[in-house]
Amino acid sequence: MSAPALLETKGLTKSFGNVKAVRDVDLSIPRGSTFGLVGESGSGKSTVARLVLRLIEPTSGEIRFGETDLRALKGDKLRRQRRKMQMIFQDPFGSLNLRMTVGETLTEPQSVHGLGRNDAERRARGEALLAEVGLPAAAMDRFPHEFSGGQRQRIAIARALATEPELIVADEPVSALDVSVQAQILNLMRDMQAEHGTTMLFISHDLRVVQYMCDQIAVMYLGEIMERGPRHRIYEMPQHPYTQALLSSVPGSPKEDGKRAKLKGEIPSAHSVPSGCAFRTRCPHAFDRCKVEVPVMHQLGEGQEAACHLLDR
């Protein structure tokens, strides 16, 4: 494989009460790449985002950030680590402090992490960040509500960049935006990444957006990874029945026999995850073994892996 991993998880698991939201998730995100996590609601993808940033504590499993064992960090060390990991949320209105000017929003994280020698320097950096995300320096003294949704997301990106992070976790960053604005933000994020070499964990339900943004992709269902691999393998030769169904459900995909739906039924509740393979209740190919045995990951070449008993044959 290419570059060494910046972020690695092993057996990452999170339970809320007796609900297992995330089960045994292994991720390995090469430095400087964009890693996509796709899935429908209830797939646990947003929980993974919060786990790797240690916004919530995992029930079990390992998280490594470069050489650091993230789970072992506490207090001041964790705080310093946070400088290197930033998050961009779906709703910039909810994630920006509405009482802070854009300038304060951009300089505060710098002073918290001791970046810049004085206020003037931090402010200059704030203005540079704004220029980088395509906003005028005059925006520094205005408040979030004075901006449109797309502009607010630009501010959120600038804020995430303010601490010069090595990892950015973006959770549905463009889902709330109109398509014309969405394209602006996606391009901006791609440019940012190219420019700074930032590693990105990109979470989305939108398969088209993930395809555009990500080098590596993992498909999640009911808290587990069903399939993962490089973009072209996932989109051109998906091996897991769920990935196949997901891709052919995208509007505009060719319809066999005039039907769009490839899957019957809906995602089971996380309270009652099916035995064996989590996907078997909706899988068109399910057979007896799927009921009793949890499928293991099968290596399919070029780093593509899928967890399905069909691949045994």
Partner: protein, 335 residues
């Protein structure tokens, strides 16, 4: 004729009738004591058996147009122009007679069935209220019919569901109930406002399949409001593209999604990530605020083809191309 016991093929032998006709439909809302236009000059028609998309980004006025057609615009709204439903002018009808069209002639499917269905009334009660009121059925006859409708939209154990509440259903089931409710009184027009936007992609496919089946079985005219051009190409026959309160282009769905003539429509297509990885071409700038539309062509400030001529507002008919509100429409075929 009840669609539940259809004998004849839908639409057979009859020439397709225009169900909905909007002509220069405009909605204005009072803001700070002044009427501010939200939509202007919206003209299009929908025929029986046809699905027409009303496409555009948020704030373009597509949902406002839908609520004006329902006769349920926000408080204090002023609706102008002409609106004909099944050949009848409906804008001058009394509120009571206007309301009588709802449910019986026009069915409505909302985006969020969770909030669009009553939280504390049983599903059965909501359905039978509608059936009893519009069709004059008895409670028990209405209950039987409601169960048939739920069965028709693919809901297992309809009798149990009728006794339940919306919060007990999954997202896909809720939208099926909503569809059954909208179709319950055999309307000739169904307006669906982003009916699949809130659903997961695999469920979205199921609901689109169902809507297509229902559309054919009930032989309705369907107005499909959406922001998703892929859904338009997949589901609709024709499309009406709106921008800043205006219709900018009307064409077949295939034309709009593959070879549009208005620069805005082109821009929308180029902004959506496709299967190719080439860099997206976003539309520069942002949608103008309501009440701050530019004079002349409203898209001109964001348009790469704009010239001096665009200071004059292009008409929908009478500009270089019919049904394209643009002085410089795209003529070359591009894919």
């Amino acid at each position: 004729m009840s669609p539940l016991d259809m004998t004849a093929a839908p639409g057979a032998g009859t020439e397709t009738k225009v169900v909905l006709e909007a002509e220069n439909l405009g909605v204005a809302l009072p803001i700070d004591g002044k009427y501010v236009p939200i939509t202007t000059d919206v003209s299009f028609s929908v025929r029986r058996g046809e699905a027409v998309a009303l496409v555009g980004e948020s704030g373009c006025g597509k949902s406002m147009t839908a609520s004006a057609i329902m006769g349920l615009p926000p408080r204090g709204a002023k609706v102008t122009g002409r609106l004909r439903i099944n050949g009848r002018d409906v804008l001058d009808l009394s509120p009571k007679r206007r309301r009588a069209l709802c449910g019986s002639e026009i069915g409505f499917i909302f985006q969020e069935p969770m909030t669009a269905l009553h939280p504390t009334l049983r599903i059965g009660r909501q359905m039978t209220d509608t059936l009893c009121h519009n069709l004059g059925l008895s409670r028990s006859a209405a209950m039987t019919r409601a169960a048939e409708l739920l069965d028709l939209v693919g809901i297992p154990r309809p009798k149990d569901i009728l006794k339940g509440y919306v919060h007990q259903l999954s997202g896909g089931m809720r939208q099926r109930v909503m569809i059954a409710l909208a179709l319950s009184c055999d309307p000739s027009l169904v307006i669906a406002d982003e009916p699949t936007t809130a659903l997961d992609v695999t469920i979205q496919a199921q609901v689109l399949d169902l809507m297509e089946k229902m559309r054919r079985e009930f032989d309705v005219a369907m107005l499909f409001i959406t922001h998703d051009l892929e859904v338009v190409g997949d589901f609709c026959d024709r499309a009406v593209v709106m921008y800043a309160g205006d219709v900018v282009e009307t064409a077949t769905a295939a034309e709009v999604t593959r070879a549009p003539h208005h620069p805005y429509t082109r821009g929308l297509i180029d902004a959506v990530p496709g299967t190719g990885l080439e860099r997206l071409v976003p539309i520069g700038g942002s949608v103008p605020q309501i009440g701050a539309w530019p004079e002349g062509c409203r898209f001109a400030p964001r348009c790469s083809r704009a010239t001096e001529k665009c200071a004059i507002r292009p008409p929908l008919e009478g500009a270089p191309m019919p049904d394209v509100r643009c002085w410089h429409p795209l003529t070359e075929e591009r894919t």
